[in-house]
């Protein structure tokens, strides 16, 4: 919006992360003043370039310019998975839990370990006790409808404060399968597991208080599942059966709800006509 052009000479900085050492006389610096100043030189260069094989040179220059650009001017490249089976932590876990550690990848700096469903509590416990992953950072569910290994995935984030290391554990669970609770290992996972249950209906076995947390106890369905409708949810029948038929409670998205309504009838406003007239002149 207000991306005011900067002076081209200051485009690159000492503090950037390596690579870009060249002075940016690159044409990418789209500053009109600079373009004017360089006009003549450009014209000459153009004339010469016409003589030689134009396409090839242009391509080369482009490639060179591309390489010389600071990282934020290149097109982004999404980080990719690297196999991390030989990571010492993974190796140690493998030793302890054997086949329960299914795979391990390193992606964008985070270690990601797929764990068998039944072993997750034990893995968390050994991570906490032996490997100092004491901080319960996050737990959430993900829904992959129709996935073979299990529709749901529970993602755990653990943090090792002394080593500043984050670990992501993943557990697959099918519909109706329950995951062993880790709320007894890290008490911080208590509410997070309740939330995952609330949102996805993933049951956690052995959890001390497996109730809904954010939604109310009479809510029908699990809203973060992919097949959950965004509009037209009945919200009352389960808890007020005496008032509402099944799945016939007050439904969101109806009545005076947030549906776009037809434009209101034009109202004869005394000021409106004058305003229109003035605006017509302008």
């Amino acid at each position: 919006m207000n991306d005011e052009p900067k002076k081209p000479g200051q485009d690159e900085l000492p503090a950037d992360e390596g690579g870009a050492e060249t002075t940016p006389e690159s044409p990418e610096a789209d500053a009109p003043e600079a373009a004017e100043a360089d006009d003549q030189a450009k014209a000459e260069a153009k004339a010469k370039a016409e003589a030689v094989a134009k396409a090839k040179a242009a391509a080369e220059a482009k490639a060179a310019a591309e390489a010389a650009k600071p990282p934020w001017e290149k097109l982004p490249v999404a980080p990719e998975d690297e196999d991390a089976t030989d990571d010492p932590l993974v190796a140690a876990l493998r030793e302890q839990h054997g086949e329960a550690i299914e795979s391990a990848f390193l992606c964008a700096g985070d270690l990601r370990v797929q764990v068998a469903r039944s072993a997750i509590a034990d893995v968390c416990r050994s991570l906490k006790i032996d490997h100092d992953f004491t901080m319960a950072e996050d737990l959430c569910g993900v829904h992959y409808p129709g996935r073979e290994v299990g529709e749901f995935e529970v993602v755990y984030h653990l943090y090792n404060i002394p080593e500043n290391r984050r670990l992501r554990l993943k557990v697959a669970a099918g519909e109706g399968e329950s995951v062993p609770t880790v709320a007894l290992v890290h008490r911080g996972f208590n509410w997070l597991e309740r939330e995952a249950y609330d949102m996805y209906g993933i049951r956690f076995e052995g959890h001390p208080d497996m109730t809904r947390i954010l939604l109310w106890e009479g809510f029908n369905g699990y809203p973060l599942r992919k097949d959950f409708p965004v509009e037209g949810i009945d919200t009352g029948s389960a808890i007020y059966p005496e008032y509402y038929d099944e799945s016939a409670g007050p439904v969101t998205g109806t009545g005076t709800g947030w549906r776009p309504q037809p434009p209101p009838e034009p109202e004869p406003e005394p000021g409106a006509a004058a305003g229109e007239a003035e605006e017509g002149e302008g």
């Binding site: 434009p263 004058a274 305003g275 229109e276 003035e278 605006e279």
Partner: protein, 156 residues
């Protein structure tokens, strides 16, 4: 010793009383709203404005709106003067009651200068009737000034 003195003489409490007493005589920061008005800054995101002539009917603003409150209908028409096909707006409505003034529509607008902008410095959007007064059509978008400024006398 100092601690003891403090305990007996309640110095800590008097320090607090001193600060409040000092503020008793400081300049007050209240802005007396309907009479005094704070001028919004230049980037302040307030009420929408639309310039129909600049608008190229690309509907990017409607597409970029996170809550889909911009409704645009247009049709093509042959301009009798230039004899070229032109897009003509049928409807350009904004349901301002749901608007969260994020400014993404303004950012999406490809024309230069922008044909929809929020920096109109109008922020007195409260109304008594939601549907009637906060569903603005193209006329109101082009001239919001038909609504009077708030005063402390105005009681409907």
């Amino acid at each position: 010793m100092k601690r003891f003195l403090d305990k007996i003489m309640l110095l800590d409490l008097f320090a607090g009383l001193g600060i409040t007493a000092k503020h008793l005589f400081k300049k007050k920061v209240t802005v007396q709203y309907p009479e005094e008005r704070r001028e919004p800054t230049h980037r302040f995101r307030g009420m929408f404005r639309l310039d129909e002539e600049r608008c190229i009917k690309c509907t990017l603003c409607a597409r970029d709106c996170p809550i889909d409150i911009i409704y645009i209908d247009w049709h093509q028409e042959v301009n009798p003067v230039t004899e070229k096909k032109e897009k003509v707006l049928d409807r350009f409505d904004i349901d301002v009651q749901r608007c969260m003034f994020c400014g993404l529509c303004e950012e999406a607008c490809p024309t230069e200068p922008k044909s929809i902008w929020l920096t109109s410095k109008t922020y007195e959007l409260a109304t008594y009737e939601r549907w009637q007064n906060l569903y603005v059509d193209i006329d109101e978008l082009q001239d919001w000034k038909v609504r009077p400024e708030y005063t402390d006398k105005e009681v409907v």
